[in-house]
C-alpha cells in the first residue's frame, strides 16, 4: 500500500485492486499526481481500477492523466475502469474517452541508417531535378529575350538596379576603403624593413582590383540583394502570387528572375569599380600617412604596375558573381513551399550557397585569368 497527501489536500492510495483517489486534484500538482499514480499502479494484478468517489475536484488536466494511466494499464492487458465518478466528472471522463478502449497508438519506427540514406538520396534527386527544370526555364527565358528584345518588359529593371546598386553603394564604399587601408597597414612594417615603401601601391592595387574588390562586393551583394530576392520570391510563393502569375500565362522565371539577374549583372561590376577606387584610396591614406609617400608618388607607382587586364578581370569576376547570386537567391525563393519558416530557410540557404559559389567561382576564374595582364 502506498499513499500520499498533497499540499492542496489530495490523496492517492493503492488498496488491492483499486487505486483510491480523493480530495481536490488540480493540474498545478500534476507532476506529483502523475508520479503517485505511477507508483500506485506498479505491479498490477489482472485488474486495477481507479476509484474517484472521494474526489471533490478533478480538473481536466488531472483527468487526462488518469485516463492515460488507465490506457497504459489496458494496453498491458490489465482490466481497468474509472469508478465512482459523480455525474459531472463522468461527463469529463466520457469527453476524454476514459470509458472506452484506448486507441491503438502507432509507434513511429525510427528509420535505420540505410533507409535514411535512401530518403536523403531521393530528396537530393528531387532537388537536382527541380534545379535542372529551373535552369532550363531560365535558358528558355533568356533565349526568348535575345530573340525578341523589344517584347521584353524592362520596366521593373531600373528599380531593381537602384535598390541593389545605388542603395548598396555607401556600404560598398566604406568596407572596401577599410579593406584597402588594412591591406596597406598590415604590409607597412615589412615594407619599411626592406625600404620598399612605394611598393605598398603594388600590393594594394593588385590585390584590390584582381581579388578583394570583386569578392567583398559580392559578399555585400549576397547579404543585401541575394537574401532579399529569396525572401521576396519566397513570400510571393507563400501568398500565391507566383501561382497567380502562372495562371495568367506569365512565366515567373521571365517575369521575376531574369530582371533580377540582369540587375545584378549590371550592378556588381559597377559597384566593383567603385570598390577598386576606394580600396586604392585606402592604401593611399596609409602610404601617405604611415610610409611618407606623396600622393603623386603612390599613384605613379600604381600606374606602373596596374594594367587594364587587372581591372577588367576583376569586373568580369564580379559580373559572374552577380549572376550566380541572383540565380541562387531566386531559385531558393521560388522553391519555397508553404510557410513563413520556409522563407527564412530559403534566405539562409541563399546566403550560405552564394558565399560557397562565390569562392568556388573565384578560384576557377583566378585560374582561368592567370595569364591575363601579368
Amino acid at each position: 500500500m502506498h499513499h500520499r497527501r498533497g499540499v492542496s489536500g489530495w490523496r492517492i492510495a493503492r488498496d488491492g485492486e483499486r487505486i483510491v483517489i480523493d480530495g481536490e486534484l488540480r493540474i498545478h500538482d500534476g507532476a506529483e499526481i502523475w508520479r503517485e499514480l505511477s507508483l500506485a499502479a506498479a505491479s498490477p494484478g489482472p485488474r486495477l481500477d481507479f476509484d474517484i468517489a472521494g474526489a471533490r475536484v478533478v480538473d481536466g488536466g488531472v483527468m487526462a492523466l488518469l485516463v492515460e494511466r488507465r490506457a497504459i494499464l489496458l494496453r498491458r492487458g490489465v482490466a481497468s475502469e474509472i469508478l465512482g465518478a459523480s455525474e459531472g466528472l463522468q461527463s469529463v471522463v466520457h469527453l476524454l474517452h476514459g470509458d472506452e478502449a484506448p486507441p491503438h497508438v502507432e509507434v513511429q519506427r525510427e528509420l535505420g541508417f540505410v533507409e535514411r540514406v535512401g530518403v536523403e538520396t531521393a530528396k537530393l534527386g528531387t532537388r537536382v531535378q527541380t534545379g535542372v527544370v529551373f535552369l532550363g526555364e531560365l535558358v528558355a527565358s533568356v533565349a526568348g529575350i535575345v530573340r525578341h528584345p523589344a517584347r521584353t518588359d524592362r520596366r521593373g529593371l531600373p528599380a531593381l538596379v537602384v535598390r541593389a546598386g545605388l542603395d548598396g553603394l555607401p556600404i560598398v564604399v566604406l568596407l572596401n576603403f577599410l579593406v584597402g587601408f588594412v591591406m596597406a597597414f598590415q604590409s607597412m612594417r615589412y615594407l619599411q624593413l626592406y625600404g620598399a615603401s612605394p611598393f605598398v601601391a603594388d600590393i594594394v592595387g593588385i590585390s584590390v582590383t584582381r581579388e578583394l574588390a570583386p569578392l567583398m562586393t559580392a559578399v555585400i551583394i549576397t547579404g543585401r540583394s541575394g537574401a532579399a530576392y529569396a525572401a521576396e520570391l519566397g513570400t510571393m510563393r507563400v501568398s500565391e502570387e507566383i501561382d497567380a502569375l502562372q495562371v495568367m500565362g506569365i512565366r515567373p522565371v521571365s517575369y521575376l528572375v531574369v530582371p533580377r539577374i540582369l540587375a545584378l549583372l549590371l550592378v556588381a561590376p559597377a559597384l566593383t569599380l567603385f570598390a577598386d577606387l576606394v580600396g586604392i584610396a585606402g592604401g593611399l591614406v596609409v602610404g601617405v600617412r604611415g610610409l611618407g609617400l606623396t600622393p603623386r608618388g603612390y599613384l605613379s607607382e600604381l600606374r606602373t604596375v596596374i594594367v587594364p587586364g587587372d581591372v577588367w578581370t576583376g569586373l568580369v569576376k564580379s559580373g559572374v558573381f552577380g549572376v550566380a547570386i541572383a540565380i541562387i537567391g531566386c531559385r531558393n525563393g521560388l522553391a519555397t513551399s508553404g510557410s513563413a519558416s520556409e522563407v527564412g530557410r530559403a534566405t539562409t540557404a541563399t546566403v550560405v550557397q552564394s558565399l560557397f559559389a562565390i569562392v568556388l567561382l573565384d578560384t576557377l576564374l583566378t585560374m582561368l585569368f592567370r595569364g591575363v595582364g601579368q
Binding site: M236, M248, G249
Partner: protein, 246 residues
C-alpha cells in the same frame, strides 16, 4: 445544346497514388452557370481548384477547360481567370498595375487604352478609387474585389474563385456574393466557386458538387436547395449546418 465550359472525367487528386484526396470525380460545368465546389475543411476543395487550373498535376483522369487541358504550356492567353483566396495581388505594383498586367502581357494595347480598360474593370468591382494605391492599403474584401477585376482583365468566359467570401464580415461577404451574381448574369460569365460558406451557396450557386473526405469522392451533386433533403446524412448535415454524427 448548352456549351460545356469545364469537363472533369474520372479525376483523382492529391499528393500520391494510394493517398488520394478525391477519386473518380466526374462533373461538367455549363456555360453561364455559377457552379460550386463545396466541402468541409480538409475535404480537398483547394487541391481540386489547383488541379483544375493546372497548378497541380492530376493523379488520374482528365480535365478540359474550354476544350483544352489546363496546363500553361499553350501559346496565347489562358482561357480562364482565377481569384485566389487572399487575392494574391502583387505588392510591388499598384492595384491598377495589377489589373493591367495580363493586358500588357497578352495584348498590344497602348498604355492609355490599357488604363481605360483597367479603370472600367475596377469600376465594375466598385474599386476605381484604389487605382493608384498599393494593395497593402486595401481591406480583405477590397483585395478580393481587385483580384476579381484582375481575373476579368482579359474577358475570359470562365473564372475560378477560391473562397470569395471567407474571412469577411457577413455584410461584405453578401456584397461579394451579389457582385459575383451580377457579373455572371450581366457578362454571361461562367463562374466556378470553391467555398464552404452556406450563405453564398444557397444564394448564388446554381449547381454544385460536394466533396467528402471520408469517402474520398463526390458525395452529392445537384442544386443546393434540393440537397438539403438528400438521403445521405453527411450531405444533409452539410447543408443544414448540423454536426450530428453521420
Amino acid at each position: 445544346m448548352t456549351t460545356v465550359m469545364l469537363s472533369v472525367t474520372d479525376l483523382s487528386i492529391g499528393w500520391s497514388e494510394g493517398n488520394a484526396l478525391i477519386e473518380g470525380a466526374t462533373f461538367e460545368v455549363r456555360a453561364g452557370e455559377i457552379f460550386g465546389i463545396l466541402g468541409r475543411s480538409a475535404s480537398g476543395k483547394s487541391t481540386m481548384l489547383r488541379t483544375l487550373i493546372g497548378l497541380e498535376p492530376p493523379l488520374a483522369g482528365s480535365i478540359e477547360v474550354c476544350g483544352r487541358p489546363p496546363d500553361h504550356e499553350h501559346a496565347g492567353p489562358p482561357p480562364f481567370g482565377v481569384m485566389f483566396q487572399q487575392g494574391a495581388l502583387f505588392g510591388a505594383l499598384t492595384v491598377g498595375q495589377n489589373v493591367a498586367l495580363p493586358l500588357e502581357r497578352w495584348t498590344r494595347l497602348p498604355p492609355d487604352a490599357v488604363e481605360a480598360i483597367v479603370r472600367a474593370k475596377l469600376r465594375l468591382v466598385e474599386l476605381e478609387a484604389a487605382y493608384a494605391q498599393p494593395p497593402s492599403t486595401l481591406s480583405g474584401g477590397m483585395r478580393k474585389r481587385a483580384a476579381i477585376a484582375r481575373a476579368l482583365a482579359l474577358e475570359p468566359p470562365l473564372i475560378f474563385l477560391d473562397e470569395p467570401s471567407s474571412g469577411l464580415d457577413p455584410i461584405t461577404s453578401a456584397e461579394i456574393d451579389r457582385l459575383i451574381a451580377t457579373l455572371a448574369h450581366v457578362l454571361g460569365l461562367t463562374v466556378v466557386i470553391v467555398t464552404h460558406e452556406l450563405g453564398s451557396i444557397t444564394t448564388i450557386v446554381d449547381r454544385c458538387v460536394l466533396l467528402d473526405k471520408e469517402s474520398r469522392s463526390i458525395l452529392a451533386a445537384g442544386v443546393p436547395r434540393e440537397l438539403t433533403h438528400h438521403p445521405h446524412p453527411r450531405v444533409r448535415n452539410f447543408f443544414t449546418r448540423s454536426a450530428e454524427a453521420a
